[in-house]
Symmetry: D2
Subunit: 348 residues, 4 copies
């Protein structure tokens, strides 16, 4: 019998990728789609790509009315909603993967400071597992509440965690310069994502104040229980999809390429979704588009004993919907890459 899945917030971009991926998933049937703005409309009337494929109607965003029909719910809602929505009782009935930020930060104070939203659900916060699949596999398998990572943190953490874990970087000198396509900003209208405003231009945004900063720091700090602060800057690029994350760290001593390569191999050699590039080959977002891969390459600037690590993901897949499904596979004891082995499409 197939896993009965529901998607709340199915009509955002991440929601629509969840629908697309789960439709192809051999062990899942989508039973419920909900939408705040499009309830009672057919899904294919909102996303014409689903014509003749998904003609389900969207329900309203009402958790109670759908919870009993489902084994798992993907919550793709704005920040600040799920922490009020979910209870212990919810988790008794259904597994939850929350794609908002509500359960990502372990510290309520930090959440409230960076998101400027009150958080009243310390119980579930303690139960939630941060769903960075490759690093939290065991906990994810036994959890009923996953806080699915942010798009930038996913890419940055996959690049940096091996180096931090091995303690080869100076802890107080990490800089992450990230670049994202516009789909990361979602489907809500905004002057900044109006075509003529962001086409053929680039900019940094939320400089020194991006909410993904504490999320990255929390995970980097946790791995060795050593406080790590980073400078994180996000940039908007005139393309639909993809995140490229360029991270800079000072090496504690003069490591060479092979030293570092061995570290990455140690952690990622057997990881299906992580592809380590060869020497002098660097990730490009086009090579991961449409897939759940994270490509990683690096170079050592021997003049400054600094490492430059570059990672690329599809922000809507490994950075959101794909990793959520990967986590679902773990939670239901399925092959981790089930429904997720699409080859990146190029050129697209």
């Amino acid at each position: 019998m197939k896993i009965k899945a529901g998607i709340m917030g199915a009509t955002g971009y991440v929601g629509s990728e969840l629908v697309r991926i789960l439709y192809h998933h051999p062990e899942v049937e989508i039973n419920v789609l909900t939408s705040k703005h499009h309830s009672n409309q057919r899904y294919n009337s909102i996303y014409t790509n689903f014509s003749k494929i998904c003609e389900m109607k969207c329900d309203e965003n009402d958790l109670d009315s759908v919870i009993n029909q489902l084994d798992i719910i993907f919550l793709s809602l704005p920040h600040g909603i799920t922490s009020n929505l979910l209870t212990e009782k919810t988790l008794k009935n259904v597994k939850i993967i929350d794609l908002s930020a509500d359960f990502r930060l372990k510290s309520m104070e930090e959440y409230e400071e960076w998101y400027d939203i009150k958080h009243n659900n310390i119980n579930l916060l303690n139960r939630a597992v941060y769903g960075l699949s490759e690093w939290k596999r065991e906990k994810i398998c036994s959890s009923r509440l996953i806080a699915n990572p942010g798009c930038y943190p996913t890419c940055a953490l996959l690049c940096l965690l091996p180096l931090i874990k091995e303690e080869i970087l100076e802890e107080d000198y990490i800089i992450i310069d990230a670049k994202s396509g516009v789909s990361g900003a979602g489907r809500s209208l905004n002057l900044g994502t109006h075509f003529s405003e962001c086409n053929e231009s680039t900019k940094a945004y939320n400089v020194a104040s991006h909410r993904h900063t504490p999320e990255i720091e929390q995970q980097l700090s946790e791995i060795n229980r050593k406080k790590i602060s980073v400078t994180f800057t996000a940039h908007l690029l005139p393309m639909n999809r993809g995140i490229l994350c360029t991270s800079y760290g000072n090496l504690k001593k003069a490591y060479n390429y092979d030293d570092i390569k061995k570290i990455y191999e140690k952690y990622y050699h057997d990881e299906f979704f992580i592809r380590l590039m060869g020497k002098n080959i660097f990730p490009e977002t086009k090579w991961v588009k449409g897939s759940n891969y994270c490509d990683i390459g690096f170079s050592i600037d021997t003049r400054t004993d600094r490492i430059i690590v570059i990672g690329a993901i599809d922000n809507l897949i490994k950075g959101a919907a794909g990793q959520a499904v990967q986590n679902m596979n773990l939670m239901f004891n399925l092959e981790e890459n089930m429904g997720l082995n699409s080859i990146p499409m190029f050129p697209v």
Copy 2:
């Protein structure tokens, strides 16, 4: 036992889509990839999206050396090569889907006039079946040599054939204004497809002389054995993928929307890959990207008794590699949509 497939010319954009689609095909194994410029290189070194997926080496473009290992060969080579390469004997050994133009035009004279290349293979020309899957299904099933249609003709013909078949258009007044993404021009370097030259601009090209014109005319004329000439204009658009085809025809009498809708339903209601849009909904290339669908919508300009039909396809899929695999499915008696049911990806 799986179908053993080879792809000659595997390192062009169409070739790489063939590799991607056939990799996902449950009844196919790819045994041979050939390349003129990249022989002896690993496929993933040419297309990094295939890292950890396809690490096969490319062979040289030598038909004889690969023919015995294969059940089917996809030929994705420049025009003028396959007509010299293929013989009756080839077809005894292997089924062929030729993605070049060499066997599309039934008249050698016409081929030589439009392509300015000598054609010496009248025998195979007579055996070749024009692979417009929805309209030549029966012949394709029993053929060993398919001339896979051009990208523009695929879209234009799927839009126009029902109207021509039903003889509701004035035969001498058909205009096809087509728009294509740049991937249709292939991977060979050219000033016209240099990024800064075609980004943020549009132009018509090969005006009144595009080689897809006689291909369209041949098929439109054949359906009722009545000579039809068209004006066809191709335009280059600053995007990677997609063809949008806007066709104009004079209605012989004052048909209304429902009359025409019935005609399209008659021919396409049961077609998996053709999606008829609802009233006042028109195709957009984004809704078919990454899929083998052809979306069709139309409107009647009652002021002029003219019909405007709009079709959209992914030029590399329904316009090339996807339709080729659809034809292979027919030739091997498989489900026609096997390996081809990807949902269009959006936004991508």
Copy 3:
């Protein structure tokens, strides 16, 4: 003494181009900028490109309060406003160039039918001159109220008028297939112009119902006082600027290239802003970007005795703000190209 100019609706894209062009104009000083949504804000806070250049504050959209300080007002407001706003008295005080559609159609019935807005200003409608500069020069010079043409009509008419005037086309078979960049849709937020929705895609819109249709027909019909209907289809392209207009007409007899070339030379040889391309050279929008030029090329499809005319303009300049300034130059007896001789910028 310089011409005192005001721009109402200065914070839309056309408004901002008016500001930019008039700032460079040697005989103009901008005295007033108004804005509905940004009144009391500095212009450079809305359009950062004007930092250190234009730090004027925007006033409210109140004609009465600004009229006495000005010699000319450019009205860049939504349709349906200026016909109520302007009176005979207004025109006594100031010259007006209206960039909305309110005074373009000579027939109030037609206006009301296509725009679905009541029109109550028949007096001024009769006084207004349609500001297609190259064809209405004399009337523009002596007018105080200009209805500045729409972007598509500007391009289509400049391409077609010489052929219509010379009566070489079958009047009932003209098709105009036009393609526009997204800036033509303005700065107002809309799902259709959200970056991820229109990037990497194309579509037709307002099929068989675009409001520029009657505007084109009116002008084509007027030239020889012979009713002409056209089919006009607009397409949205994933680029910021530029209109490419591909027009198809049936030739009454078998004209050759030189015949037609002579016709275009007759009307346009001395026109500063019209550039006739050489044989087999066709306009591309990139070559006119940032300029007031209209490039025109054509080909004769001898197989069908049809002419294909292709025109390219910058939709915000020759299609709006540039032509408005050209008209102002005519109205004030200045050199027609004053302030308008920027070389098209490429690549941009």
Copy 4:
């Protein structure tokens, strides 16, 4: 009498911007254009935007034959040519602005190491002035040989020099993460700048080995005669024009926003081409496109006592042709912004 100017290498993108800007320059006449690949062709046949504007023929790239007709020559040739081409005698006859890298690095060894080209012209190397206009104004005025800065160094240096000069940054921890549009790669064909390869994707390139690194270091080190090494990473963005440069530096002590603002004001308050953004406003490449401006904004990451400085330029203008003309103005004692006061065009 006007300055007689020649442009060698006039058919590259930088060359074409030189032609465009100098055409508008009131004190210059262009007497010679040369081109390796397009000699004897009309300029407008290579760049159609110059139709009816510049119909001059290109000469061959032969310095001797043109030198006597000219007051100044702009050399827009590949690296490694001008160091062999120029002599003391050349400079007696004509002023030179070299847009290649040949005279930028003061150390021949460094040049040979990073460019892998032999340099045989130590004499002229010593005479050449690095043409960063705002910082070398005095020397430029009296020089006859200008080494026009690279695009990335221009942007990075304008952002960093005030901070370095004031010695507020830790010298060994400067990171520059730069992003450029594709026009920076020039007009030569290359798979990496083929439309479908770089559209909708981003990548880092020449990681830890980009040739602009020593150029930046030389200038930063020179200002206080203190050796400064930087990590510089260049990224390619899917857009035509623009450079955005994000620089990271560790503050020696806890400066606040106003402290830093004062420093920038001190150096740039009177600079025409430098625009300091207000607090929490950051440069975007669109706001400088088509202009010679450099926009600069910054933020202090108080959590890490780090400064993030962001600069934006038009790579072909302030990063190449525009700054060259600015330098010419200085060399000929003209207003520094003559011919360079175009307002940035938006949206374009």
